[in-house]
Amino acid sequence: MQAPSLNPPSPASTSVSSSTPPPHSDANAGTRGEQDTEALLRRALPPHRGAPPPSPLLVRTLCQQLGSIPPDLRRDIWPLLLLGPDAYDADVATAPSAIVQGFSGKEEGATAGAKVGPHCGNKSSPVDGPSRGLEALCGDDAKPFSLAQAIEDVPLDLPNQRVVEIDALRTRSELPLFKSPGTQAMIERVLTLYCKLQGISYKQGLNEVLAPFVQVVMGREGGCDGEGRRPDRLGEGRKGEGVGEEAGGALQEDGEGDGGDRRGQGCPPSAAPSLLIYRCFARFLHLLLGNLYSDEDFHLLQALFLLFRLLLLYHCPRLSLRLDACGLPPELYLTPWVLTLLARSLDMPTTLALWDHYLLEQDPLLHHFLLLALLRRHRASLLAAPVDLLPETLASLSFSGTAHVASLVAEAKALRAQTPDSYCRRLARVSRTNVDAASLSALLLDLNAVPTVTLTAQEALEGVLDVLGYGEEEEEGGEEEEEEERTKVEENREEEGGERKVPPAKPPRRSREEEGERGDGGGRGEGRAARGEGGECGRGLHDEIEGERGADRAEEGGSRRQEREEVGQHPDGEGRRRRSEEEEEGEGREGEG
């Protein structure tokens, strides 16, 4: 049961605040505190043999407070965060009956092993195709199924086994660990078994998602490098304890050495790493990518493209329009980013640092917003790149180092907070959609009906009040009424218009950046309403809200704007006046960007 690790830490359960901690780079403020936190972590991890494992919730909260996961502790923390307390269960390799159930297509049970069963439910009868030969692995009644054994014995006979074989050879092949034939063979077996147990065909990208787990479990220093393996110091005691006051290398080495040794004692050396890798990999995929890889034709991925385009249009309209104009829709750059959670684009230490956050947050949407943040960060260069170089520039976007990771994650979270909840819910639904024909066509119908990011009435109202400078208290007044009916703004136009007629006390000016982003979104839904009503105050407000989008449209999206204005039937003169205002504002903004 890993339920605790899936929920956000409750403040009551620990003295540590659950709010986002200051990033790790903020060294001055929290040095002492961070050391204490880290010392706490190191005291808890890895657990003594026989001792109960630390609560994943506690570990997670401590890491969040720390702003990251200490690299040398990843090997203990990642499994704990993903698999819960039974990550340490040495017996997990044997007889989890739920796995056997997985073979016959039943739903996953509650035991530890169930996590490797067919999470996706919908593809859970792998009797034909990729799952050939599973019966042999299942054993008979007398011999219970062993996942560790299955990893060792899995027949390498997928229909596209050759691709798996090639990919195993070229996964992170720049790192020494991955050059070893043993590692490559293990990667091929894990990938093959995963596909068989899930009843899916092998798809490229799975290998890249697997690699960080191989590095974390089998590499040294939680994957910061792949070489310099020191001989295991078997039999040494817990050295990592209480060394929190020391910083840097010495501390890491001690902790890491111990971690490795203890793991070596706990499990059979050959089977255990691959078992742990398998379980973490399967769980991680399920958590962050849902059914994306179960979908044989990548319909869900295409649905994500559609939604991402809307998101980009919402937050960075000018960039979105430029990419569209240059023939670069998300189809052309998003595939590797989404399918490998950026693993393919980042060096190993950066990938691990980023995934630390993904594991701590366990929020599948974070990745989408991180991609948005990445594009936003490179907005200037993407807007400036000549059209012939644009695809290459876009495809090679990358970043390196933990500082970049921390700031991008922070930006991603901020962007998420500025995105209408209705959009986030829609996005969250996509990767969980069952991949049967009926669900897929329903999904596509749903998405095709969404020409833009839509707001619920509540969100629109909040946005208005926010812009007007009313605090949270005022919002709550409307919330109760609005919450019942979550409909698109357009449908509530009249009501909205009424709200807007609140005298526009000049709001305290927000930072331009923020204004552009929020207003951008707010404007999309609200704009129409405002235009429909055409009230004086509506316009002032609208100008305020329009922000960056106005500028973008002024430059690139003239036709689109015209469309919108037709929709809103805005008086001509006013429209023109606004346009010129927007352009002016846009120019200013662009200078800043």
Partner: protein, 210 residues
């Protein structure tokens, strides 16, 4: 603003030529591209997922060509996504691996993809990669490759990204053919316009006169 710079950069070349590399997974598309664009080779390339891009300038007589080369994922599973890539492609390099019969057999499937999704006028070329291998490891002969190319009436090269055999030639050939085609099309369009000015005389009429 930022876009103004684009104009300047665009004028640095006469044609921007979009090429597409397709073929089964592992036949060496990315390696060919790396050899061509950066003149280097690595035996352990990473898997292409979705699509990758490279740009290469190519002088051709008095013209400057810019090749924008789209390197696609070979895996069949990506096909639903990759169809988007065919749009706007001016040339397609269809690659198989001379040590892998299946990749050769799949050429016909790839040709079907091209027919379905690419424009009719797209220039195609067939490439048998890894021709540096030991003859004992070879599964597809030069003659088989040549014959298949003849069947499809397209040009054919055996290449080695590893030993840098015929790589430049293959890219150059397809780029040159495309440049010629574009120039012809431009000429045709221009002459077509002229004809239109004279009332009632289409290109067909012109032919009859001759």
């Amino acid at each position: 603003m930022a876009n103004r710079g684009k104009q300047g950069a665009q004028s640095k070349y006469d044609h921007l030529i979009k090429l597409l590399l397709i073929g089964d997974s592992g036949v060496g598309k990315s390696c060919l591209l790396l050899r061509y664009s950066e003149d280097s080779f690595t035996p352990s390339f990473i898997t292409t997922i979705g699509i990758d891009f490279k740009i290469k300038s190519l002088p051709l007589e008095d013209k400057k060509l810019k090749l924008q080369i789209w390197d696609t994922a070979g895996q069949e599973r990506f096909r639903t996504i990759t169809t988007a890539y065919y749009r706007g492609a001016m040339g397609i390099l269809l690659v198989y691996d001379v040590t892998d019969e299946r990749s050769f057999a799949n050429v016909k499937n790839w040709m079907r993809q091209i027919e379905q999704h690419a424009s009719e006028s797209v220039n195609k070329i067939l490439i048998g990669n890894k021709c540096d291998v030991d003859p004992a490891d070879r599964r597809v002969s030069l003659e088989q490759g040549r014959k298949l190319a003849e069947e499809y009436r397209i040009k054919f090269f055996e290449t080695s990204a590893k030993e840098n055999v015929n790589v430049d030639e293959a890219f150059y050939t397809v780029a040159r053919d495309i440049a010629l085609r574009i120039d012809n099309e431009v000429d045709l369009t221009a002459s077509g316009k002229n004809v239109k000015i004279g009332p009632g005389v289409g290109p067909a009429g012109g032919k009859e006169c001759c």
